[in-house]
Symmetry: C2
Subunit: 720 residues, 2 copies
């Protein structure tokens, strides 16, 4: 049985009107400025957002103003067939599609086929990933979230419909050189295995605004505690308290920055499955240990995974609220049940939060089929295994954040899985896959789908790779060395130890800038680390390279897509163009306007493609004309005191920068305990630059005392 | 809503009784000796077998006799949850599971997770393959077909159930060296996305008997025409009739065997999408051309794919019976509709069959997501795109076979996709993936699931690889060089040209033996090329090699499975142990009993593992003690005449071999026009061997005239 619904909502002035069709089978409802909800058939009770404690930032969305839907409603289609929901969006010839999960190899998604499915990333962009967010952003200036916790199939411009207005002509492969294995399709189609679905439309007009509305609807971006933006180090899994303290002392002696120590499974009495209780031999006095670290201005983060050991006190109490299947012989709690959440929360509060732990690394909630519960598992809530898998990471993030909210303490941590609705949760996704170049592509893609990603460093085959990885992780949401298995240290490669030290210190210097970038994420929905494609004036370079026929390698002569997927923006003004082991030079695509070298202030180019060879010591970083970058000193510990600010200005333009400030630790900023400090550079009549700092009257300043402007020279580079 | 059905059928004497549960939600019905049907919930109308013109070989199954179900019915479970059917089979600790699709890298499937989905093979055994047959064979001596045309998820011993009787103890990964990422699971679970399903149980007691019952239920194995077992060559796609004839002449001059020429897309006026009509420039006189080839005892096979060009006469007539989506801008016929079948059949008969074409290469019915119709496509029959994709290859096989049946002519050809129910269709699966070692694993796996596979040769990087590929393809269901894109010839590498000629001639010599092996496939369901695991007395060697922890390469210290997947049986007595480019020696696992070198007759070992270094010229082939191998002379053309037989006997045992014979071309053998000739070797009192040929009285002999026994020496090998 097929039921076809065409939306016939009327596009009147700036807004669509709510309308119905065939007994409310499709309902269209305006949610907020530039946000619409379409309800098709009978959507599931549980979706990606329904189980989370999040609320849209209504005011901020309203401030963005209204926006047009750039797509004709005639071109949308929804139908329910054979118990599944079919969705169609149109695709114009030069339209580009971004998002659709945390992909590692591709940025633009046109021409791809995926099944969005929570999983560890297995080396292919097939939809199985740590954040299978079913949200796309179109270059036409709109986006949509298919808000279902089912595995969704999507064909992004592959299927060609017989009834299409744009059917390409059939060509003879025998003789027509224009024949292609992949002719133009004007469709993006989704298949949701449920008898209905809720779809949320987010309008632009720009792609960045689409993303902003999406993030604001999901509660805004997260604002981590300030210490979260320092340098993290995770110690080997079986380290004792004494070994950890010795490691911390070594950081101090060698003057390497350190703000967070992460403990791996060995802190627990039993792991895989977990007790969530301290091992009394390795950690006889957890409270004393955590306090000692606190005294050194170092926070403590602990690893956990979701699977519950028979050896924990928690076990019997939570057992009725767990699934039919075990993982590593441990119980799998059904965290869509408040009972399960409450039981776990009590145990976590007692054993971690109240002992002073600053946050978690939430491992293995992405699932890896070989040991995860199968989709035939039964959960006591009645939600299906599929639905629970899609949101397990989201549920764990939410539950742990609520514990910290109760304490009025911000947390910041790591998680292996997320989905739509998690942008306001202070968690950064990581994984076991370890390709450095692909890590950067994931960093870029995270910005389209409302999640954060870290290209964490574990080990390297060479000093060069080590330094290149350290350089990129220091421009990511968490700058972290994860030595759980290898026992690596930042100074593991002595030949680049000094350079690693410098990049880690640069990370510390950038904290005011990064913290402001996160504030813009929180209040405006602007991703702190983001794709070039979200930058005004950036022209991406997706090229199809004609395929060469080869009977065994390329029998369909498929074209190869070349795109820029190795440079990105951090905050308002910084463009990062990392190099990878083996490279000595690279191309950088500069968006419209003038750009300057971060380190020297030299002019490097204007809306053009440049080739740079910065040497091993430096990661190329460029600043937009008029870019203002507030910097701290190169501290190694983040103490509870004010730091003087170096306020750099680049290029020729007069400009203004709003520096965000608050206590850096509590949720009081949500109640107004925050300040935006204006940093202003004017160009005077004589061409000289003049800097001004304006602190709003009666407002508090938490994180800096004195300041000094530094106007970076903008002379052209010496010819090399 | 969950409905759980436990089968409570009574196991009385040798058979189960038909029983019902909760309003016929589960029905168990005996189908034939050792074959049971379980019907759960409301199975789909369309399944893997329902659309095919096949009938069980009831007599042959009855002859096999009854068999026990080795699994307690208590351990089976069926339930319908959330519109899907959940199925559970138990797994004992040392039980092995084979089958579950045409896998390329693994033979034993325990510990795997797959979604069985018709597709081109993409380099991973994840269920996406050319023959996603949802049939497994258990080493306990039973098998089951999950008879649904849906994509099926299967967890083969990965999920551990809380209510299991065999839950392994939870271990602490921190300190327990016995911790494993993949503890024992006593379940194999299936998820069928439909509200019911039919399951067919096939009993043993041996695994070979399970496979036999499965094949016989599906109509028995195919018996190809005798010419199909010769040597095939496919010419470059844009070859004209003259170029093809020149190529044929070159084969003759160089004395290379050739029985079938395959024409690639260029024979057609338009391809991708197809007209199925001859190109009048390249082939001005198809009938004359085919006749000329026939005169040289060469059959003509033509390539087609399913997608219909606007340039064909067929187009308008078939359009109403095609799907909502196009492929390569061509129509996709819904061959579950008899209208579509009839229209296409008429066109194919007119343009190919009646012009003398011997058969087809049915390309691209496996689907490749990037250009196939998506699962949201609508087909006019109302069957879903998913269902049609799962059986598209089966439908095309069936339709074309029916055309040849009408002519009382057997056909033999190639196909890119099959599923359950196709064992009686004369088609061999091939693909574009090209790893030689994996090709052999596929050859092995094809025998568990009722399909045939050829490791066809296209091109090679070296003479060594060329020869190694030629050696293996000559021991496969179709010995073929596919030069469609590369224009390779058997003599393309002059340094091994002589050896290629010899192996191709050996293929021709083996035709009587291979034809008999196929007759055993047809009448007894015994796969002609098959896994060692189906051989009595074979002990496979699946080893788990302990994994080494590595933070970036193996973070879960997963064990690596080592298994034998590069040797196989052909017919009753031949064990083939190919070498691959780069290898000079290999290990061969010999089943119980004595084994002899095929070429020399020398004794090589007895139920042991030997290491052999046969040199580049030879592919290791071993013969079972008492093996009788009938051989033709090394002909290069298969003429319509009788050939003398060399009847080889190997080893020390007296033995009997039933040689099959019929006209080799028509379906008259099904009406009794066939002969089994007894070849018998006795050992006389003086130890001398004596051979006898017994032709049943009043029966016709088609394919051989005189014969000569050759008793292969069984002296032990010289020490090298």
């Amino acid at each position: 049985m097929i039921r076809i619904f065409k939306i016939n909502f009327v596009c009147l002035s700036f807004i669509f009107f709510i309308s119905c069709f065939q007994g409310n089978a499709v309902e269209v409802e305006k949610v907020n400025a530039g946000i619409w909800k379409i309800s098709v058939g009978r959507p599931d009770k549980v979706n990606l957002l329904s189980e989370l404690n999040i609320a849209p930032r209504t005011e901020a969305i309203l401030e963005m103003g209204e926006a047009f839907m750039p797509v004709s409603v005639e071109d949308l289609e929804f139908k329910v067939v054979d118990g599944k929901t079919y969705i169609r969006f149109p695709l114009e010839k030069d339209e580009k599609i971004y998002g659709l999960g945390l992909n590692f190899k591709t940025v633009e998604q046109r021409g791809r086929v995926m099944r969005l499915h929570a999983d560890h990333y297995g080396g292919r962009d097939n939809g199985r990933t740590h954040a299978p967010v079913p949200f796309f952003v179109s270059s036409r200036g709109y986006g949509a979230l298919i808000n279902t916790a089912r595995y969704i199939d999507v064909w992004v411009g592959t299927g060609i419909r017989k009834d299409s207005r744009n059917v390409p002509i059939a060509r003879d492969r025998n003789t027509d050189p224009e024949w292609t294995s992949r002719p133009y399709s004007d469709n993006m189609e989704f298949l949701v295995p449920a008898e209905g679905v809720e779809i949320l439309l987010f309008l632009g007009p720009t792609m960045l605004e689409v993303v902003q509305r999406f993030n604001l609807y999901n509660g805004g971006g997260t604002l981590p505690p300030r210490w979260g933006l320092g340098f993290w180090h995770r110690t080997p899994t079986l380290f004792t308290d004494k070994l950890v303290m010795a490691e911390v002392e070594e950081f101090r002696k060698r003057k390497f920055p350190l703000t967070v120590i992460g403990l791996e499974p060995g802190w627990m009495s039993h792991a895989y499955p977990c007790t969530y209780e301290w091992d009394t031999v390795r950690f006889p006095d957890p409270v004393g240990f955590i306090k000692k670290l606190d005294d050194r201005h170092i926070k403590t983060n602990v690893w956990i995974n979701p699977y519950i050991s028979p050896a924990t006190k928690l076990y019997d109490e939570i057992k009725p609220y767990t699934s039919s299947h075990l993982v590593w012989c441990g119980l799998v709690p059904d965290y869509t049940l408040s009972e399960a959440r409450q039981i776990a929360t009590r145990h976590f509060e007692e054993n971690q939060v109240k002992k002073g732990i600053s946050g978690y690394k939430l491992d293995e909630n992405d699932g890896y089929d070989y040991w995860l519960w199968p989709d035939v598992a039964i959960f006591p809530s009645g939600n299906t295994a599929e639905q629970i898998r899609q949101i397990y990471g989201s549920l764990m993030q939410d539950m742990t954040v609520q514990m910290y909210r109760k304490q009025n303490k911000r947390t910041y941590g790591l998680v292996r899985s997320g989905n739509a609705g998690t942008s306001s949760f202070p968690y950064v996704i990581y994984n076991d896959y370890y390709d450095h170049r692909d890590f950067i592509t994931a960093l870029i893609n995270s910005s389209f789908i409302g999640v954060l990603w870290t290209p964490e460093v574990r080990a390297s085959k060479s000093a060069e790779e080590w330094l290149r990885r350290m350089q990129t992780v220091c421009f990511s949401p968490i700058a972290m060395l994860d030595a759980w298995a290898d026992g690596t240290k930042p100074w593991s490669f002595p030949e680049v130890s000094q350079q690693v030290n410098e990049i880690a210190k640069l990370r510390m210097r950038l904290i005011p800038y990064l913290y402001t970038a996160f504030a813009n994420y929180a209040f405006k929905g602007i991703p702190p680390v983001r794709a070039m494609n979200l930058e005004q004036g950036y022209k991406d370079e997706v090229k199809m390279e004609k395929g060469k026929l080869d009977a065994t390698e390329n029998p369909y002569a498929m074209a190869l897509r070349k795109e820029i997927k190795d440079q990105f923006m951090v905050g308002n003004s910084l463009l990062i163009a990392p190099l990878f082991a083996g490279e000595t030079e690279r191309r950088v695509v500069l968006p419209k306007g003038k750009w300057y070298d971060f380190y020297t202030g030299e002019f490097v180019g204007e809306g053009e493609i440049i080739t740079v060879a910065p040497g091993l010591d430096k990661i190329p970083v460029y600043v937009k004309d008029g870019g203002i970058i507030p910097l701290w000193p190169g501290i190694t510990q983040l103490e509870n005191r004010r730091y003087p600010l170096e306020i750099r200005h680049y290029g020729e333009k007069a400009s203004v920068y709003d520096l965000y400030d608050d206590d850096g630790e509590t949720y009081d900023y949500e109640k107004g305990e925050r300040t935006w400090i204006t940093l202003k550079v004017d160009i005077e009549n004589n061409g000289k630059k003049k800097g001004t700092v304006i602190i709003p009257k009666n407002s508090e300043v938490w994180s800096f005392s004195d300041y000094k402007f530094r106007f970076m020279s903008s002379v052209p580079p010496k010819s090399s």
